[in-house]
Symmetry: C2
Amino acid sequence: MAINIKNFLFSQSKNSKIRDFQDLDHIDGLAIGAISAKLYKYERDDVVIFYFRDGANYASVYTQSKIFSENIKWNLKIKGNSIKALFVNTRNACAFLGKQGLQAIETIAKDLSEQLTKKMKIDDEKPSKVRSNEIIFGCTGTIGETFPLEKIRKSIPNLLSKIKYTQNKYLWIKAALGIMTTDTVPKMAMTECKIGTSNIKIYGVAKGSGMIYPNMATTLGYIFTDGNIPSSILKKLLKKNIETTFNAISVDSDTSTNDMVSIFATKKANHIKVKNINDKNLKSFDESLNLVLLELAKKVAFDGEGASKFVQIDVLNTKNVKDAKKIAFSIANSPLVKTAIAGEDPNWGRVVMAIGKAYVNLNVNKLEIKFGKLKVVERGLISKNYNEDLLKEYMSSKNINITVEINSGKKSFTTYTTDLTKKYIEINADYRS
Amino acid sequence: MAINIKNFLFSQSKNSKIRDFQDLDHIDGLAIGAISAKLYKYERDDVVIFYFRDGANYASVYTQSKIFSENIKWNLKIKGNSIKALFVNTRNACAFLGKQGLQAIETIAKDLSEQLTKKMKIDDEKPSKVRSNEIIFGCTGTIGETFPLEKIRKSIPNLLSKIKYTQNKYLWIKAALGIMTTDTVPKMAMTECKIGTSNIKIYGVAKGSGMIYPNMATTLGYIFTDGNIPSSILKKLLKKNIETTFNAISVDSDTSTNDMVSIFATKKANHIKVKNINDKNLKSFDESLNLVLLELAKKVAFDGEGASKFVQIDVLNTKNVKDAKKIAFSIANSPLVKTAIAGEDPNWGRVVMAIGKAYVNLNVNKLEIKFGKLKVVERGLISKNYNEDLLKEYMSSKNINITVEINSGKKSFTTYTTDLTKKYIEINADYRS
């Protein structure tokens, strides 16, 4: 079945980004609110709630860092398969705060639970209770700083009063802006697909740009669908698709204490029941979810601090995916490769170096390297047709594609990154004040 | 026994470097030659020979990269325990050249073998033959570029005629300059120690500075001693001491195809026979070798491209050395930590982030972090005495020392690195022309 892809503008110029928003509209069963809790010195939205009045199935993946934030500790304790709200705050990561941090999350959960239950009694025909353990949290910002609990608590009545039960593109932009930190653009993506004969929406918002005010590179990604898919299947779909999307990007090889990607299914669409992850009726949804995650992940990578170029690295035909991944990330994380790309220097020797230091056993005589369509290395030697002028011209492109052919198996991995520029140093060496 | 350390000036100011040379003099059994083979467009020494007319015991360690240079392939094939010469060229790494590269090394080895044998007949009372397989090679420079075989062959008669059988500090400087690429200073270190009651010299030269003209970060380190130590023991001593010295530095996490550190023992000193690596008579030599290797390694790190600060990271009390190393390098290689140091930003949150992304299991509640003597983190929380102004002041030092106390075992590891500056990007993003 053809996938109906709207709004996948990534391959277009940077200036076209604003058009990313235009097709996002309403998802049944979702409500959104975003306001300022005055967490920043200047006026901006900094707390956002995604509210599912009739509940949503959901799944989450979190940072692999051994030091993770208090909100992630809270989320990991929640065992239920249905969620009523996702609450996101920026400016403070609620990390490295010990008991105080977890207590703050507990307090906000309690406040939200009570006030959402009250709101439901007013707004809904069939009100139910919103429990603390039906609310999960995303936090991003500085770590180790006292959590602005009271400011957030004070903002809750106003935030809940601003919740809108119908979304249009402006509300999505507002939400995407509300979760941003040092991002230079809000990040959204959407597509539609089919489950059986029914049209299903998959929308997403994300934030992340190398690292954030002022500490590090938290990535948050939230996907919303009206599909009626059990949480157990959502978990498997997310776990599978995260590997080739959010886990395939690298801006500076640094990892946050707060990374989090979730998917929420409002169950409002009427479609044939899906039984398991191998169900043929899920194929279109699976592929479309991958596209939305990949689009958001690419946008995070491309918004990498100081980035002037977007780089795709394909490592092909290794014995296993692990080897391909090691080589791909060794290239993507190499400061020498990234500075050469920033300088538009056709310095393919640095790619060879980065392949070598991935410590994957390989037959050098079978190695091939291409920059775009230009063959640079063939059979482990510089290509006979190698033309430095042509390669230099290619290096001036905004999009750089490096293909590494290992020729020793059938597995592959693609990673996405950016160049490393003086601007990156400027942004990150500046004192936080 | 007290170790007699001369010339360990590393802790002094950058300007004091020139004084590093002053104590290096003669090592019996060693001869040195250095000339220009016109490998560069401008005039400079670019081929250097270290010649041992009566042979030297030796040991080498090489890059762990899966793609390594042709000279290292040659060196690895040599099985004998005695060497007559080390030949080093700069400008071309002899890497990624396939058969052509290895044939070039073979040709130079043959030329050197014939001409050194001839020279011995003239110079020596008891001439012997110098065989090809008694010569090892160090190469550093661009990879994938045609090796300048004919230029080097033509230079050999002149090089051998310039060999000097007695060294003074000027000859050592000439040799250290002759193996340099983008290094900003020649790197030498020396100490003396005792084996039994005999005085033994340990001298060393090294090159490396993040990366080199124009491709990558080759590190070469050569240690010379007049000690009479079997190659089997030299191998164990080098392998053991390289881990905490050359393998403990990180400028940009990149690894060259050509890295090589060797030790040569001319056997000229008269001392009590050493039997094995645990021999008590070797203790002073062992410790002194570590000091010379560490001094050279620190100089390589400090000459890192664009570096403005020298950074020492001590990770203490982990369950095993591997864990300590993982955490230390995760901090040392983090672009966020390195840019914060460049910006003199007291951004300790980035160190926490880097500890977390080392993926070592740890009890966060036991974590302690110090910057110099300033406690920043205690028991997994920001220290009660934390004072950002004091930390900011400390960050303005030239030497930054970060101590991470894991408190879960008895093993430790120390790594040495530099900050990451705009200058680094400038140097490495520039097109090679």
